[in-house]
Symmetry: C2
Subunit: 129 residues, 2 copies
């Protein structure tokens, strides 16, 4: 695949990665942060669905491949330094987090500790069968 100008302009870090933020195109809620390498960005642009690089599994990760919770990309942005990607997405199933919550950012700072403040919409054991 010929690399797009977009991916050539991104400033990949020493591991060849950049952070990628998925934001709900509807509510503006931040759903999750993952990482992309060049191939993940190219596939995201080509397919219109979020593809990340799994640092733990060391392979491309088409978000939703196990859970069905795919992310349709409505808009793709980068920042002033070209070192972060922002995806505005339609989140299939309304669940982005592997814990079964809408968003991974369910822990709020309260009195110097983190408290879980968002409901589990679907138990993980029902998502990953």
């Amino acid at each position: 695949m010929t690399p797009s100008t977009a991916s050539q302009r991104v400033k990949w870090n020493e591991q060849g990665l950049v952070p990628a933020i998925a934001q709900s195109a509807q509510s503006g809620k931040i759903l999750m942060v993952a990482w992309m390498n060049r191939e993940a960005l190219e596939q995201t642009i080509q397919t219109g669905e979020a593809v990340y690089w799994s640092r733990s599994r060391k392979k491309l990760w088409h978000k939703g491949e196990s859970s069905g919770h795919t992310q349709k990309v409505i808009e793709l942005r980068t920042d002033c330094d070209f070192d972060v990607i922002l995806l505005k997405v339609d989140q299939a199933g309304g669940i982005a987090c592997h814990t079964g919550r809408e968003s991974c950012f369910f822990r709020r700072n309260e009195n110097g500790d983190w408290q879980d403040v968002e409901p589990v919409l679907k138990p993980p054991e029902e998502i990953y069968k």
Copy 2:
């Protein structure tokens, strides 16, 4: 300073850092992404204003110290993996980006390249005198 439970639970990377996303508490717009080390998070919690770690200058960076564009923290969150911080902020001056734009995410993917799609609200030479 005694480290807070919150900062002890964060999974700092091999450089002792995590990405930190500043989001407008009002509009939900993502304003910028920077990095925090433990001290930056502690100072952010203590002072109620965003403090980051500048990787280029290798020092703590009280956002707005030069520009006046400080960020009042309304809410502080972390994610399922404790490896990203989310700050919901009141952005002083309505400008987060050093380019004089509201948000650093002013480049939109169009036809395989990035196009600037957000206006400069104040020229940088008027911000940094």
